[in-house]
């Protein structure tokens, strides 16, 4: 693992990094971000996950061992970092088509046309924040680039956002920069994609869709802000497919999903933002990563007792390899499944006196699997070490509920605590369905931020409909030889 090797090298300890053959491109890209482009790696032929013990032995002793010796005993070639433009360089001049061609061929776009980030457009975005353009919100791995207000504005323009979305974009990159979120894992094998939840009155003010078809594209705020997140992951964090983004299959970006707070208020249910310590009514975003999800269609019944078995069964069946985030020292206790409930289902629960907490508790009690199955998935099927629930409990690394007896058929919850479940009311007002997302634990742990509006927000919004004269920023300088 390259980050660990870089730490060792910096401490004066020579390293050899073991890299499966298919990950050599990723290693080359990641080493640039770590400032050690010449760090030596030892190739492991093929992928260990599909090799017999004999094949693995032949590969390690026949190929990898020699590489390890070379890595530790032979001086590596001189390292060199790639030359790059500066932060405010103009890199392309031309027509819309020419600029788009430049951005595509230089891996600066996601394959869709972009809005050129010109001085005037970037300036319009910067007016919607009180923060200075050069302020750094964090350093994003693996490319180790600064997440700046400036770069947020530039990528927001490119994504097709409106300038008034800027406060939302800033909050998102604050979350992306939070080590708790684990953004550095965004290019890993499962290829999960971030889902952005939105809470607060800003959903209405900026015209987000939060009813029927809430996960569909077609609504500028929902769609362009979702696209912005993926563009920022590419351009600043450096997650490019065939480079640092090693998703086996990957996902496209997800549109932003706001909670329907009108329904929450009517039912007396706390909005999702309160689970993260914010007062109800605060404008917030919550970012977390999911490999996928599934619709729970037509959840039928007039009481919670009618509804829960189907919901809990669907929840349990969606989770398999994700037990990696339930069991063990590496990531245990970080699984946070998310469920959308359509408004009339929420109303049905509420009519019986239930709130989100009741549903979470019932999910914790009902969405369970046999202990032997959880151990088998983790240990045998995905080849992870030390997967023994009794052992983990005895070491104090898991709650006691995972080993209340030695019966291998005992049922154990898929998450540690009822509060690990997240429930959001959204979607079609007239349908009785739900949607469950399979969470990726530390590879995108739910992280929320308040959306802070600029002091002159109301004035800016009042003038937004008027023609915009613009006030250009300090003009960027041309990077020699980089225009199209």
């Amino acid at each position: 693992m390259l980050r660990a090797s870089a730490v060792c090298e910096e401490a004066g300890i020579p390293t050899s990094t073991l890299v499966c053959e298919g990950f050599l491109g990723l290693a080359a890209a990641a080493s640039q971000g770590q400032g050690v482009p010449n760090i030596p790696v030892a190739m492991v032929p093929g992928h260990t996950g599909v090799q017999s013990k004999e094949q693995l032995r032949e590969n390690i002793l026949g190929v990898t061992l020699g590489n390890v010796l070379n890595n530790l005993l032979e001086a590596p070639a001189e390292g060199k970092l790639e030359d790059e433009p500066s932060a405010r360089d103009i890199v392309a001049t031309g027509t819309l088509d020419e600029i788009n061609e430049y951005f595509l061929t230089h891996n600066l776009s996601d394959g869709l046309p972009i809005i050129p980030p010109t001085d005037e457009r970037v300036a319009a975005f910067l007016r919607y924040t009180d923060r200075k353009p050069d302020e750094v919100l964090g350093i994003l791995l693996p490319d180790c680039r600064a997440a700046t207000i400036w770069s947020i504005a530039v990528n927001g323009v490119m994504a097709g956002c409106r300038p008034e979305y800027m406060p939302v974009l800033v909050a998102l990159i604050e979350a992306m920069s939070d080590p708790y979120y684990g953004n550095e894992h965004s290019g890993n094998t499962p290829g999960g994609e971030t889902l952005i939840l939105l809470n607060g009155p800003i959903a209405k003010e900026l015209g987000f869709n939060y009813t029927q078809g809430v996960m569909r594209d077609g609504f500028q705020a929902n769609t362009s802000i979702g696209r912005f997140w993926r563009l920022y992951l590419r351009n600043i964090a450096g997650f490019l497919p065939h480079g640092n983004d090693k998703a086996t299959f990957g996902n496209t970006f997800r549109v932003v999903v706001p909670e329907n707070e009108d329904v929450c208020a009517k039912l007396g249910w706390a909005p999702n933002s309160t689970d993260f310590g914010f007062k109800a009514g605060t404008n917030t975003i919550t970012a977390s990563r999911y490999t996928g999800g599934n619709h729970i269609s037509s959840i039928s019944g007039s009481t919670p007792e009618d509804l829960m078995p189907y919901i809990a069964d669907s929840m349990q069946k969606l989770h398999s390899w994700h037990f990696l985030f339930t069991v063990g020292a590496e990531c245990g206790g970080t699984l946070r499944p998310l469920m959308f409930l359509s408004p009339i289902l929420a109303e049905t629960f509420a009519a019986a006196g239930w709130n989100k907490q009741h549903i979470k508790q019932k999910l914790w009690e009902m969405a369970r699997v046999p202990a032997w199955h959880m151990e088998r998935v983790s240990r045998d099927w995905t080849q992870k070490p030390s997967w023994n629930l009794a052992y983990e409990v005895s070491m104090g690394r898991m709650p006691k509920v995972y080993h209340e007896s030695d019966d291998p058929n005992r049922l154990v919850p898929i998450v540690w605590h009822a509060d690990d479940y997240m429930i959001v009311v959204t979607g079609d007002l007239g349908r009785n369905s739900g949607y469950i997302f399979a969470h990726n634990g530390v590879l995108g742990y739910p992280t929320a931020r308040e959306i802070k509006l600029p002091k002159n927000w109301k004035t800016l919004r009042a003038s937004a409909a008027k023609p915009d004269s613009g006030s250009p920023t300090t003009k960027g300088k041309r990077k020699n030889g980089t225009s199209s």
Binding site: L18, I60, L73, D89, V91, I236, C331, Q383
Partner: protein, 104 residues
Amino acid sequence: MSDSEISNAYWPRSPRQTQLKPLARRLDTLRGKTVAQLWDYVFRGDEVFALLEEGLKDRYPDIKWVSWKEFGATHGNEEHEVLASIPQRFKELGVDAAISGMGA
């Protein structure tokens, strides 16, 4: 903008914050050296390390190994903590070289 309007577009990245870092001096030999194993708990690293130990046993009979179990997972919940502890732990354990796996 119209199709023919000429615009200037900014670079959408920001500069890397890392400088080129020198690598550690390589060893003259592994004879009598202490080699640490760092593992991110994926891709059968436990088996791979066992094979490497076996493969070097005859050539370097006095090599000393510090098992991956000493350090914890270098990926996941503990990553930041484990990586931060490495320089001090290596000093305490007298580590001369490290092998880090699996993946990238």
